[in-house]
């Protein structure tokens, strides 16, 4: 029985289609492996994972599970959405470059209590946001934390704030790096603080109050190995990666030598120094701190002028102090907070943090107490072949002064200072810099200082043969910050120090110093905020129009009048927004309709003209005389 041509054709067609489909599917599968070429059209190449991150996830030996504990995108407030998307996109990049070893999962902790418990156990913290929706103000808890799991070990990014998103790649990659690393970096503290009492079962001996960096040590121990070093007799142990010198005081020759040699062998150094102390017990009177190693720093191109930074009110921290206030006829003393000009407050918006360094780029805020400037000495740096970058600086409306003896927050002291300073032009001062390169030894051509006694009662140290002096170092980095209080327990507090903004700064600096050099290449970039600047300018203009521009004399205004004027400006702004909205909603469609009407009219006219011509021809034809002869 032979098939009819029709059924033969049908069978043939089905077969062809099935074959074609198979080929196309296979071609797409092949393409997914072979056609890995892409062009990132975005301005900052936001979707291109840094080379270091790609290499890291591309070379994973085991499966890396990234769990994003995220409140779903349609449930987060509008201003979180760009950040949400950015992080999701970035995680997708990790997955794509992970060669099948990276698994990314999204979990909504609000959905099930089990997920919520797990998120909290892993250290993911919800943060409350105030939402204004349909004239209703409500509190909402938003989850945006990430847990990374690799070979039974976990790392958590507890929460990602919209402002931190630009450097999220840095955060994730550093976390993965530390999960994958064979050993954690070792960070040594060089200080003369009393030792912490040894741990004994059943006894919890209190930390000596003079041990003011204990909280920082504990918090850092979550991510790195922390130890104390004494340098009067010994050099820094060879396996130490970062040496932290908090508030160095009267550094001795051997200690200086140990620091120098540590840097020579490629160790990374973080110095938090103060040139003066302002003890509360002595009414905040200035007390000089002899450093003992300014010459070493200057040898490396770093100068720490003996001056104090004075901030403008907008960029100062607040200090509590008793204030006299008049209420009715009476005068009372109440506790109030005033901007204290000796406590500079660095903010992201105020450009106090360098955006070019991953350690500072993502920070939102940090506060410093009695800060002295730290500067690079360009000629020294050039001579030694070193490079420097600033990390922290005061605001453009700040000054520096060497004349202050007492920093008491009373009107007389502050008023006198203000009168003194307004005569000078304000300028930003850098107070943290990083110097990188191969440092020259301070001890080149000198004798190595002999080891000393730790305490006067110690017996003489045994004389050991002096180690050969390293005179030219390998590439490394030195960071000097002109304040040591910002990381002290009395500023961080003992509760949740790891979440303190100041701690983040210190931890970032330590991470930046301790990590693999190729990770440092990950600069924060991408999803820069793209605020509607023209709208803010317009708001300012409308405020000016209603008479509340900055600097205007508002003394005659009551609070209500002021609010009313603000509202008036907002109304004008809203009217502008409405104009934009309706122009687009109605304008373009209307233009299309007009075009259609015009075209129809023109076509109708054309048609009429054509018909008329036709009708005219027909009429003239009918009026013509009848042909003669030969009629059928």
């Amino acid at each position: 029985m032979s098939a009819s041509p029709k059924s033969f054709f049908t069978r043939n067609a089905v077969l062809t289609v099935a074959l074609l489909l198979g080929i196309l599917v296979e071609a797409n599968l092949l393409a997914r492996r072979l056609l890995v070429r892409r062009a990132d059209l975005t301005q900052d190449k936001e979707y291109t994972l840094d080379e270091a991150s790609r290499r890291l996830v591309g070379g994973l030996k085991d499966r890396l599970v990234i769990t994003a504990y995220f409140t779903p995108r349609d449930k987060v407030p509008g201003h979180f959405v760009p950040a949400w998307r950015r992080v999701a996109d970035l995680l997708e990049e990790y997955r794509a470059f992970g060669g099948g070893r990276v698994v990314v999962e999204f979990v909504d902790p609000a959905q099930e209590s089990e997920a919520r418990d797990k998120a909290q156990r892993m250290g993911v913290v919800p943060f409350p946001v105030t939402v204004l929706e349909r004239e209703q103000v409500s509190q909402q808890a938003i989850y945006m934390g990430i847990v990374m799991r690799y070979e039974e070990r976990n790392k958590t990014i507890p929460m990602i704030r919209p402002a931190e998103v630009a450097s999220i790649e840095y955060q994730v990659t550093t976390a993965v790096k530390s999960l994958v690393a064979e050993r954690n970096p070792r960070v040594a503290f060089f200080s003369r603080e009393p030792d912490k009492p040894p741990k004994m079962k059943g006894f919890d001996l209190p930390t000596p109050p003079e041990r003011i960096y204990q909280v920082v040590r504990d918090a850092l121990a979550e991510r790195v190995e922390v130890l104390d070093v004494k340098l009067k007799r010994d050099l820094v142990p060879a396996d130490v990666d970062v040496l932290v010198c908090p508030r160095p005081t009267e550094v001795t020759a051997h200690e200086k030598f140990a620091i120098d040699q540590f840097v020579m062998r490629g160790g990374r150094l973080l110095v938090l120094l103060d040139r003066a102390d302002y003890p509360m017990a002595e009414n905040l009177r200035r007390k000089e701190i002899p450093l003992g190693f300014e010459d070493l720093l200057e040898h490396w191109g770093i100068r720490v002028p003996n001056a104090l930074i004075v901030e403008s009110a907008q960029a100062s921290g607040m200090m509590q102090r008793p204030q006299r206030v008049k209420i009715g006829a009476g005068e009372f003393t109440v506790q109030g907070a005033i901007p204290y000009p000796f406590w500079p407050r660095a903010t992201g918006e105020g450009q106090g943090f360098s955006k070019d360094n991953p350690a500072t780029a993502r920070l939102g805020e940090a506060i410093f107490l009695w800060v002295n400037p730290v500067e690079a000495i360009p000629e020294r740096l050039a001579a030694a072949g070193l490079s420097s970058e600033w990390l922290l600086r005061s605001s453009p409306r700040s000054w520096r002064t060497g004349k202050v003896d007492q920093v008491y927050p009373d009107d007389r002291t502050l008023g006198a200072l203000e009168l003194e300073l307004v005569k000078e032009k304000p300028a930003p001062s850098t107070f943290a810099i990083a110097v990188s390169g191969s440092f020259p030894s301070f001890f080149e051509g000198k004798e190595a200082p002999p080891p000393e006694k730790e305490r006067p009662t110690d017996k003489d140290p045994e004389t050991r043969p002096a180690p050969p002096i390293l005179t030219k170092g390998v590439d490394t980095r030195v960071v000097v910050v002109g304040d040591s209080d910002f990381a002290a327990t009395y500023v961080l507090g003992t509760r949740a120090p790891a979440q303190s903004k100041n701690f983040l700064l210190l931890a970032n600096l330590v991470d930046w110093l301790a990590l693999d050099p190729d990770l440092i290449a990950i600069r924060s970039r991408g999803t820069r905020e793209r605020p509607l600047t023209a709208l803010s300018e317009r708001r300012e203009r409308y405020r000016e129009e209603v008479g509340i521009r900055p600097g205007a004399d508002l003394s005659g205004l009551t609070k209500e009048d002021y609010q009313a004027k603000l509202d008036q400006a907002e109304e004008r702004l809203q009217a502008f927004k409405d104009r934009v909205k309706y122009t687009h909603l109605l304008g373009l469609p209307l233009a299309v309709v007009l075009f259609g009407v015009l075209r129809t009219v023109l076509r109708a006219r054309e048609k009429r003209a054509y018909l008329n011509r036709f009708a005219g021809a027909a009429a003239s034809k009918s009026r013509a005389p009848a042909p003669t002869g030969g009629t059928p």
Binding site: V17, L41, Q43, G78, V81, P531, L585, V592, G596
Partner: protein, 241 residues
């Protein structure tokens, strides 16, 4: 190809001679502006100079307007009996299909280009990154072309326009949701990557971020090519019948 272009030009003129093109443009422009400015997380509320809101709703807007465009492409010809006339012309079925496709694509592309005033408005208000806009428009064009190819194929299977519309809508809904999280979560583990790769919206999102990936472009081209081929095959099959 020259014959396809002649056909395309004739079809395109026919769009603008009837109310179809205008209704298509007006509905699309009005809806896109409405969602861009007036939805809960609209442009001014988000407060960022970006066109992402527009490109987020684009797949769904196209999902409704493209079937309305394609439903009549063949069904109408069959109902009016002009299809047989068309098939007797000395043109290959694929040339006819390509001609109709190009005309409809030109209309979709014009619609997308008319979103540029919106982009210029955004750029006037803040620092707009043009990379994602270019990516989004290109992705939108590819997505629209894919919808068209599928819709035309469905239209060639039936003589009823309503049936063509509904079948196209359902089919496209499948293709834009097959790789979504709820579907993937319930799919067998081995099948999930395949389903994700089949999803039209996933590829669009990737391009609309401003990242042109050869794999996404290749996927769209094979998708469009496959359904145009099926469309031509359906015509050829009917010619045989």
């Amino acid at each position: 190809m020259a014959r396809s272009l002649v056909l395309a030009r004739r079809e395109l003129r026919a769009y603008f001679d009837s109310p179809i093109a205008y209704i298509f443009l007006v509905v699309f422009l009005a809806l896109s502006s409405y969602f861009f400015f007036f939805q809960i997380q609209g442009f001014f509320l988000v407060g960022q100079a970006t066109m992402r809101i527009y490109f987020e709703i684009l797949p769904y807007l196209l999902l409704f307007v493209v079937p309305a465009l394609t439903m009549r492409l063949w069904a109408e010809e069959r109902r009016a009996g002009t299809e047989e006339l068309l098939l007797t012309f000395p043109v290959r079925p694929f040339e006819i299909v390509a001609g109709k496709f190009l005309a409809a694509f030109a209309l979709v592309a014009l619609t997308l280009l008319l979103s540029l005033p919106l982009a210029f408005q955004v750029a006037a208000l803040g620092p707009l990154d043009w990379g994602p806009v270019v990516g989004g428009l290109l992705g939108g064009a590819l997505l629209g072309a894919s919808y068209l190819a599928f819709g035309m194929f469905v239209s060639s299977l039936t003589r009823n326009q309503i049936v063509a519309f509904i079948l196209t809508l359902v089919g496209l809904l499948f293709f834009v949701s097959v790789g979504s999280t709820p579907v993937l979560a319930r799919a067998p583990a081995g099948l999930a990557p395949f389903l994700e790769a089949l999803d039209l919206e996933t590829h669009f999102k990737a391009i609309a971020r401003g990242v042109l990936d050869l794999r996404d472009l290749f996927f769209y081209l094979t998708f469009i090519g496959f359904f145009l081929y099926l469309n031509a095959a359906a015509l050829a099959w009917r010619r045989w019948r």
